[in-house]
Amino acid sequence: MPSATLSVTRPSIPSSIPNLPQVLQTPSGLALVEIQGTLHLSTTSSSSSDPLGRLVFEKSTVWLYIGNHQRMEGAVVDLKPPVGLLRRQITDDGKGEHGAPDGEAVEIVEVIRKKIVFSTRPEPLVQDVSFRRS
């Protein structure tokens, strides 16, 4: 019968994102972002050096800037109920870190109670006006 052990990991060293609002600070430094639509993340390592965009927190509003030409307006909301972030662990030899019989173990690495929701359409953005004039 397929089975996996499930453990709960309590991060001992906080690794929060600097400047992330306090409500989003979690012990592992994780936050959830939800957007309507699809965000195409590049899978090539070369493109991973380029910034994807920016998250800007202004009082109760959060802006998500994607590239230089689009932005979305969002807000921080409570997750009801909260969610646990599960991570599957599979070692190279097929045995789980916790000795699961099927070589698999799962751990809850974080409990997340807030998320940033972007429920509006992206707004077009004209950023470099001087460039366009020239």
């Binding site: 089975s3 600097p18 959830l32 927190f57």
Partner: protein, 382 residues
């Protein structure tokens, strides 16, 4: 003042992450060290439902699809959360740190999570132990399976690993099914015939030795039935099954004995109804003497019978009905066309306990009618 985070993509190992809804039940579970030490995700097979089992509780896990995109922002790349790491990405991150990212320009790494959330709902244990061989006495070890033999006997741990329920619930179901693990290692269920023969002897011997039925010890009872030449494990399995306590000293459950004999008597009428009066007489006569039992009342057999007419009865075990609501209602209406609400409830509670949702099931798969001022549940379209 606005706070700003520069986002970089992190595409490594995202498939290893899932989101699990932490309902109050699950949060309570995670706060209890006794329960979390036994947490296991189990399934009976690759295509079977998945269950989250703690020490004493079982939750069914369902995958709820999300139309929105769910992303995770982390303070670091997935290095801390994955087993191996793309070192090239590390190099890039270091370069970023030196050349572009200053202390006042924090960085977050964005990765996409699977487009679904795992939802846990409390689940009643669905334990099918019918594959466990039957025990018919020390002299006649036999099995129900045509291919089984002593060389293929099952061990308790093997059986336990095939049942996706918590340890505590398994122990209860194993005891209820009269499960026994014999000294040579084989695990069996005491057969109906064996119990019907041995339990009267057992009760008579215990009564003859004037043992305290409220405080029975395995060793004393074993001594009382020693002449029967049955293993002590069999004696203990019987005590555990027909006791109100889970451990020694065992306290004889007279109502439980009466119920068990009632169900066995009723199971002879699985395909054809019988007269209620005849059934009650047979049931009463089958009870092992000389104990006093509660009156043989149908309330003891709730969820095991249907009365096609007020004067007839037929065996209909709730735990053998389909779990899928449509199929279950079909079976119920095949057994009886119109049910009183209190009659049908034990059969519906097996798949749904919430009263509002039970009503929704009635609306969807049946029809509520008022007949002579009484609400009855009938098949749709009748």
């Amino acid at each position: 003042m606005a706070q700003e985070i520069t986002l970089y993509p992190d595409t490594s190992k995202i498939s290893h992450f899932h989101l699990l809804q932490l309902t109050p039940d699950i949060q309570q579970l995670l706060d209890s060290p006794d329960e979390t030490s036994h947490l296991t995700i189990k399934s009976a097979g690759p295509t079977s439902p998945i269950f989250l089992c703690s020490y004493s509780k079982t939750f069914r896990i369902r995958q709820i699809s999300q139309s929105n995109t769910i992303l995770m922002v982390s303070a670091s790349r997935s290095k801390n959360y994955t087993d191996d790491q793309d070192t090239q990405m590390d190099d890039i991150a270091e370069q970023d740190g030196e050349e572009e990212v200053e202390a006042e320009a924090p960085v977050g790494y964005l990765s996409q999570l699977p487009g679904s959330i795992l939802e846990c709902t409390s689940s009643s244990p669905q334990v099918d132990l019918s594959f466990v061989p039957l025990y018919n006495g020390a002299d006649a070890l036999s099995t129900t399976s045509s291919s089984s033999s002593s060389s293929t006997s099952l061990h308790l741990n093997e059986i336990k690993s095939q049942i996706p329920v918590s340890d505590y619930e398994f122990a209860n179901e194993w005891a209820a099914a009269l499960g026994v693990e014999l000294p040579h290692g084989g695990a069996f269920r005491l057969s109906r015939d064996f119990v019907q023969q041995f339990l009267p002897v057992f009760v008579a011997a215990v009564s003859a030795d004037r043992l305290d039925l409220e405080r029975l010890e395995v060793a004393r009872v074993f001594e009382a039935v020693k002449e029967e030449d049955e293993p002590v494990a069999v004696v203990e399995a019987l005590l555990r099954r027909f006791s109100r306590t889970r451990e020694e000293p065992y306290c004889v459950d007279r109502e439980g004995i009466a119920r068990w004999f009632g169900i066995q008597t009723l199971s002879d009428h699985a395909y054809k109804e019988t007269k209620l009066g005849d059934f009650l007489s047979t049931w009463h006569a089958s009870l092992p003497q000389p104990l006093d039992y509660p009156p043989c009342s149908l309330s003891l057999l709730t969820g095991h019978y249907v009365q096609p007419t007020p004067k007839t009865i037929r065996y209909l075990p709730c735990d053998r009905l389909p779990l899928e609501p449509a199929a279950r209602f079909e079976r119920l209406f095949a057994a009886k066309g119109a049910w009183a609400v209190e009659e049908i409830m034990p059969f519906v509670e097996g798949i749904e306990r919430d009263k509002a949702r039970v009503n929704a099931l009635f609306m969807k798969f049946a029809r509520k009618k008022s007949v002579a001022g009484k609400t009855v549940i009938t098949k749709r379209g009748t």
